[in-house]
């Protein structure tokens, strides 16, 4: 088992003919992901990377069975693309696009209220179940099938956590990059719940960062609902308040969103926190021993 995706997941790529869409879809196919179709308005009927291209998500859905949509549509049009996938009732939508205006994400979230679709991202590396399926832009080769579930707000920090858990021979069940935007799809709690229920996952790594209060909420949730060991790292202890640190969501406003508040909440919930990024793998290794 794994969470959300596995080797049989049928994947659609929205924006497949663009440069990003082409490059990364090709990499996904090479990794072994089951990409079945693409969507680019105006390019319907063509073939790209060996799969059929449709003008709309709806047409793709009418012709093929689709479990996951991976979105590489430019920021200007990305929220429309997500809404198209919601309308077509795609079960899992993974939006890689960075720079979507936050108001557009409010509209997306409103649309999701009456929908069963799950959204990962935007502004994220995607999701991977090692040696089965990769839906996103992460380097496949650093992953190894195993027992750690990884949830992260940051792309490169996910890779660090993956690299370290691979180094210690633990491997990963599934890694979910939930993204660096303030308004997004799945959050820590949704993913923790999935990993708790997954029999292949023995431990969970949570990589957070400054801004918002998702980590604090996750800490409360872990206390009452998660039996598996959780190792957490929060980036941005040294970040000054009021400054946006790259990610749109990584900003300390007033007293909210500081790394120390997040560490405090996590420690109180019995989470195994590490103050250095370099210690994530080592900590998980010793906790599971």
């Amino acid at each position: 088992m794994s969470v959300l995706i596995n080797s049989s997941s049928k994947i659609l790529c929205q924006g497949i003919t663009g440069s990003q869409g082409t490059f990364h879809t090709d990499q996904c196919i090479e990794y072994g992901s089951n990409v079945v179709a693409g969507v680019t308005p105006g390019r319907g009927g063509q073939e790209h990377l060996g799969v059929p291209v449709f003008d709309s998500v709806r047409e793709a859905r009418e012709n093929l069975e689709i479990d996951v949509s991976m979105i590489f549509v430019p920021a200007k049009f990305a929220s429309e693309a997500v809404i198209a996938a919601i309308d077509a009732e795609i079960g899992l939508i993974v939006c890689i696009t960075e720079g979507i205006p936050v108001q557009d994400m409010i509209a997306v979230k409103a649309k999701m209220q009456d929908s069963n679709s799950k959204l990962i991202g935007p502004n994220c590396p995607g999701i991977i179940t090692p040696e089965e399926s990769k839906v996103g832009i992460m380097p496949g080769f650093i992953h190894q099938k195993g027992s750690i579930g990884i949830i992260s707000r940051s792309g490169t920090l996910t890779y660090e956590a993956v690299h370290q858990t691979t180094h210690y021979g633990l491997g990963q069940s599934t890694c979910i990059g939930i993204g660096g935007d303030p308004i997004k799809g799945l959050n820590f709690i949704d993913c923790l719940e999935l990993f708790e229920a997954d029999s292949d996952t023995k431990g969970i790594v949570m990589v957070g960062e400054i801004g918002g209060s998702d980590e604090e909420k996750a800490a409360m949730f872990i206390k009452d609902n998660i039996s598996k060991p959780v190792v957490a790292y929060i980036a941005g202890v040294s970040a000054p308040p009021g400054k946006r640190m790259g990610h749109a969501g990584a900003i300390v406003t007033g007293k909210e969103g500081t790394a120390s508040a997040k560490y405090e909440a996590l420690n109180e919930a019995g989470v195994h926190t590490v103050d250095s990024l370099a210690l994530i793998g080592k900590k998980m290794h010793s906790v599971l021993k």
Binding site: S238, G246, H247
Partner: protein
């Protein structure tokens, strides 16, 4: 992107929202001209900087003597204003806003923000107007009143009426408040604002609501569709290096330490700063070169880093995912050669083609210190500063 008060008030005026008569000036003479044309006998001279807390540090002056306006403007223009929201250097005052004064019967705090926890717009109001709202929220949270708009239903007048009641707005003031709130909401959506703050919102001598101050922040990600607002950008209010970085598609934030960092990925860039701190050093900056760390971008990044005179050492931390480490190594080598860097550079590479990357650095003949892992990199860079 932040707007100045004078720009925000112009937008308020155009949106039919109540603001006092006023005008902007860039010279003392112009300030006097503006003041003369206002139908008032009391004038406010307000320094235009992208920071709050102006009043407490002399950034807002009131006078009943028209002749004083020029002198007050002269004292502000060309100076820098340091408030508790700015850094130690302060922000340059290149514009002053001259506004008609008014009697203040009562002051309120009022704002509309994009609320990440509620994933929608939230109105925040308080009877504690003119105060530092974060302090109010901390000390007397019961005095903060909120209303989050359900995005699938839109703005609800009934909820605004309830908000008005909680602020004790009676009869026509309640109607004015609902009208004001609706206009702010429409405006925020139209201009992609993630914050519109009116602090204070006042009841004036004629018993009407009036926006005495106004602050608008436009969502950076939406600037592509707000060309008119983008023209209002004031680069003078931004950190020079941060601006240069953003023109090069780099994300850079100045800090006060002496160890510069160059990292791919925002999360890893923050984590690298944290590592330096843990090992006893002080980061000079946050810098994310992004996923496609090309030679051009790495070169631009080195240039920006080196413009900070405090920098004594550089830590380059790259996790090559899609980008190959050997390509990044070439970028670093080229950049070091062209920029003639004389201070220590510690490089930690990991990921795709890492062995090749390290080999290139080694064979380059440059004085680049290679680190084995994250901790090693942090230790080495902190040591290099200590020597």
């Amino acid at each position: 992107m932040n707007l100045h008060e004078y720009q925000s008030k112009q937008i308020f005026l155009e949106s039919g929202m109540p603001v006092l008569e006023g005008g902007v000036a860039i010279s003392p003479d112009e300030a006097l001209e503006v003041a003369k044309n206002l139908s008032t006998n009391i004038w406010a001279v307000k320094a235009q900087v992208h920071a709050g807390g102006r009043g407490k540090v002399g950034g807002v002056k009131i006078t009943k003597d028209l002749d004083e306006v020029k002198g007050l403007a002269e004292n502000m223009l060309g100076k820098k204003l340091i408030t508790k929201q700015t850094d130690g250097d302060g922000l340059p005052i290149n514009h002053v806003y001259i506004e008609a004064g008014t009697e203040i019967v009562a002051e309120y705090y009022f704002s509309l923000v994009i609320d990440r926890a509620q994933e929608t717009w939230t109105f925040i109001a308080s009877t504690e107007g003119g105060m530092d709202i974060e302090a109010v929220a901390e000390d007397t949270p019961e005095k903060i009143i909120k209303y989050s708009v359900d995005p699938s239903k839109g703005l609800c007048n009934d909820s605004l009426r309830s908000l008005a009641n909680k602020l004790n707005f009676k009869s026509h003031l309640s109607d004015e408040f609902i009208d004001f709130s609706s206009k702010i909401f429409t405006l925020a959506k139209k201009i992609d604002a993630n914050l519109i703050e009116v602090n204070p919102l006042i009841i004036d001598g004629d018993n009407h609501l009036m926006a005495l101050d106004s602050k608008i922040a436009i969502e950076d990600n939406a600037l592509f569709r707000q060309p008119e607002l983008y023209k209002m950008r004031d680069p003078e209010q931004e950190n020079k290096l941060e601006e240069k970085a953003s023109n090069n598609d780099l994300s850079y934030v100045s800090l006060d330490g002496n160890i510069a960092c160059m990292v791919n990925g925002a999360g890893l860039a923050m984590a690298t700063m944290d590592l330096i701190k843990i090992h006893g050093g002080n980061p000079a900056n946050f810098l994310d070169v992004g996923g496609g760390a090309t030679t051009e971008r790495v070169t631009a990044a080195f240039e920006i880093i080196l413009e900070n005179p405090n920098v004594k050492s550089i830590l380059v931390n790259i996790f090559g995912g899609i980008v190959r480490c050997d390509v990044i190594a070439d970028g670093i080598i080229n950049a070091v050669r062209t920029s003639n860097i004389s201070i220590p550079i510690i490089v930690r590479l990991e990921g795709t083609n890492v062995e090749n990357g390290k080999l290139r650095l080694e064979e380059s003949g440059l004085k680049i210190i290679s680190a084995n892992d994250l901790t090693d990199a942090a230790v080495k860079v902190v040591e290099s500063v200590g020597l």
